[in-house]
């Protein structure tokens, strides 16, 4: 499959994530949308990694070009896991105090 399909697909996923972050009011759904953004990036990195690998393979059958892209994906997954643990703790902390996970609820408390 041409690489363009992957790029369009990942950009679509990424845009859905961005729109979700900007429009949804539930903290957990916003958080899920952020995860969607990160996963779109993961997919794109793997696709590019394969593309670069495939291109280098023609010249040198034992090439390792493109491996770093897939390594990056592992780092993103680890960091995303750390972010999830901190983020869910923050959301739980907020729920304990307000009994709601609505982002607008917090804005009403301002001033």
């Amino acid at each position: 499959m041409p690489i363009q399909y992957y790029i369009y697909f990942c950009l679509a996923l990424f845009s859905i994530g961005i729109i979700g972050v900007l429009t949804r009011k539930n903290a957990i759904i916003v958080f899920m949308c952020v995860e969607l953004m990160l996963n779109a990036v993961n997919l794109l990195l793997v696709a590019f990694s394969k593309m670069h690998h495939g291109a280098a393979l023609a010249g040198n059958p034992a090439t390792t070009v493109g491996i770093d892209g897939q390594l990056f994906v592992f780092f993103i997954m680890v960091v995303a896991a750390a972010e999830v643990s901190v983020g869910l703790a923050i959301i739980v902390m907020m729920y304990r105090n307000t009994h709601s996970v609505d982002i607008n609820f917090l804005n009403r408390l301002k001033n």
């Binding site: 690489i3 790029i7 990942c10 990424f14 994530g17 961005i18 972050v21 903290a27 916003v30 958080f31 952020v34 953004m37 990160l38 779109a40 990036v41 794109l44 990195l45 590019f48 593309m51 670069h52 291109a55 280098a56 070009v65 493109g66 770093d68 892209g69 390594l71 990056f72 780092f75 993103i76 960091v79 750390a82 972010e83 901190v86 983020g87 703790a89 923050i90 959301i91 902390m93 907020m94 105090n97 307000t98 982002i103 917090l106 408390l109 301002k110």
Partner: protein, 462 residues
């Protein structure tokens, strides 16, 4: 390498110190000793007295500028803990954890001052910000702290997502995560749009870095987060973390700015003017001094952005000097702010009568932030503007910056006016003699750097 290893190990040590040590002040003492160790380890690394070498396959690159910048950040953290250690103890129940998180943040800034590729940039930014989300929400029962924490977390994740997309697009175009995007040739010739991908990736990286250093138009999270977080941690966030972010920003775009050509200067002047405008004008109308300081930190970020506009040696010296001046003054002023119970301007009324030493030091810090001559802030601003002139940049942007600096005098001096020329009985927390001595020393350092800026800069070339 020293700073990265030591800060991570000492962070774990701090975590366990909470189990072993029963008293909170003992934990603070441990933190101060650990910070001294970290500072010495980093200084030894600069002069190659004792340094751990690990082959990182080009992921990290240690040069004198970065190491020196890191020394400044660690020293600023030390001053921060010395001045506000007692207030960190009061921020919540888990003192040792806060110190551990502060060390992890320092680990992140150590990576950011030495990264040599987009992978390490990403890891450094994340190691720096994830502990901060927790520190922002340290006051668990306070709704404002909760709100700040959640907002910071969501905005931080969002900008991380944008940064990752930028990195992925740059990778697609060039086939490597090397810092110098221009130098790495496209691996696959089969990509007709690779230069477009590269440009889009760089712009996304730019946007996400603007988020991290709170430059307009991506600054909107800053006032709420700085206002809601416990004041001690606001002080930490506004200084050390922001300076670390700036270094990464500078390092990332130093070699890549020319890819954007003339557009870069145009883009930067737009961002600088917008940041200065929003920071300064909004700060004028604030009722709470803490919130005013949040906007003032946006305004100061506008000045630091000049280093990215000009990218010459003078800009590098300028950002060093700015980091020193800004960190000293802001940490000092926040340590005073924490001692006052009421954060509005009226809360400072008559402070000069009841606490003359503290009021005088606060005046020095505010004058430094405003850029009055004989204080460190003056030369910091001077170097920034001179670097623009030297790089052949347009003069009108310098004029606009000076005008905004003049506006900033108004809101900084409003605090001085409240302290000296208004009657009132300010309520303060307990102020010890040690705190006063420390504060006077920091104020003296601000004046010393203001009179002889070469102290900092000669060290850099030494």
């Amino acid at each position: 390498m020293n700073a990265i290893i030591f800060s991570a190990v000492l962070g774990v040590v701090m975590m366990f110190s909470g189990i072993i040590l029963r008293s909170k002040s003992a934990v603070t003492t441990t933190a101060i000793v650990s910070l001294l160790v970290l500072l010495l380890a980093n200084i030894f690394n600069i002069y190659d007295v004792f340094s751990i070498h690990i082959d990182t396959r080009g992921l990290l690159h240690f040069n004198k500028f970065g190491l020196f910048f890191n020394t400044i950040l660690i020293a600023a953290t030390l001053i921060f803990v010395l001045l506000s250690g007692k207030d960190i103890e009061k921020a919540g129940a888990n003192v040792s954890d806060y110190y551990a998180l502060i060390f992890f943040v320092l680990c992140g800034t150590s990576i950011l001052t030495s990264f040599n590729g987009l992978l390490m940039l990403f890891l450094g930014i994340e190691i720096m910000t994830i502990p901060l989300y927790i520190l922002t929400g340290a006051d668990k029962r306070n709704l404002k702290s909760n709100e700040a924490s959640l907002k910071y977390f969501l905005m931080g994740c969002f900008s991380t997502g944008i940064m990752l997309m930028g990195i992925a697009l740059v990778y697609g175009a060039t086939g490597s995560f090397s810092l110098n995007v221009a130098a790495s040739s496209p691996a696959s010739a089969g990509m007709p749009v690779s230069s477009f991908l590269q440009m889009a990736g760089l712009i996304l990286l730019f946007v996400s870095m603007c988020f991290k250093v709170s430059a307009a138009p991506f600054h909107f999270w800053t006032p709420d987060v700085y206002d809601g977080a416990p004041s001690v941690f606001t002080s930490f966030m506004a200084t050390i973390v922001k300076a670390g972010g700036f270094f990464a920003f500078l390092n990332l775009f130093e070699s890549n700015a020319q890819l954007l050509g003339a557009t870069w200067k145009l883009l930067m002047s737009f961002v600088i003017i917008a940041t200065l405008l929003i920071g300064n004008i909004t700060a004028v109308f604030q009722q709470s001094i803490k919130r005013m300081m949040a906007y003032s930190s946006i305004a100061q970020a506008g000045f630091m952005l000049f280093a990215l506009y000009s990218f010459n040696d003078m800009a590098k010296e300028g950002i060093l000097l700015y980091a020193v001046a800004y960190c000293l003054a802001t940490i000092g002023f926040f340590s005073v702010l924490i001692k006052v119970k009421d954060y509005t301007f009226d809360g400072f009324n008559g402070l000069a009568k009841t606490q003359p030493v503290i009021a005088f030091s606060a005046t020095v810090f505010l004058m430094s932030l405003a850029g009055i001559p004989l204080t460190a802030g003056f030369f910091a601003k001077y170097y920034m503007l001179a670097s623009v002139v030297k790089s052949g940049g347009s003069l009108w942007i310098v004029v606009v910056a000076v005008l905004f600096a003049a506006i900033s005098v108004y809101y900084y001096f409003k605090v001085i006016q409240a302290m000296y020329f208004k009657e009132g009985q300010p309520e303060t927390h307990e102020i010890t003699g040690r705190f006063k001595t420390g504060l006077v020393l920091v104020a003296a350092a601000v004046i010393l750097v203001g009179v002889l800026p070469s102290i900092v800069l000669n060290w850099f070339y030494f």
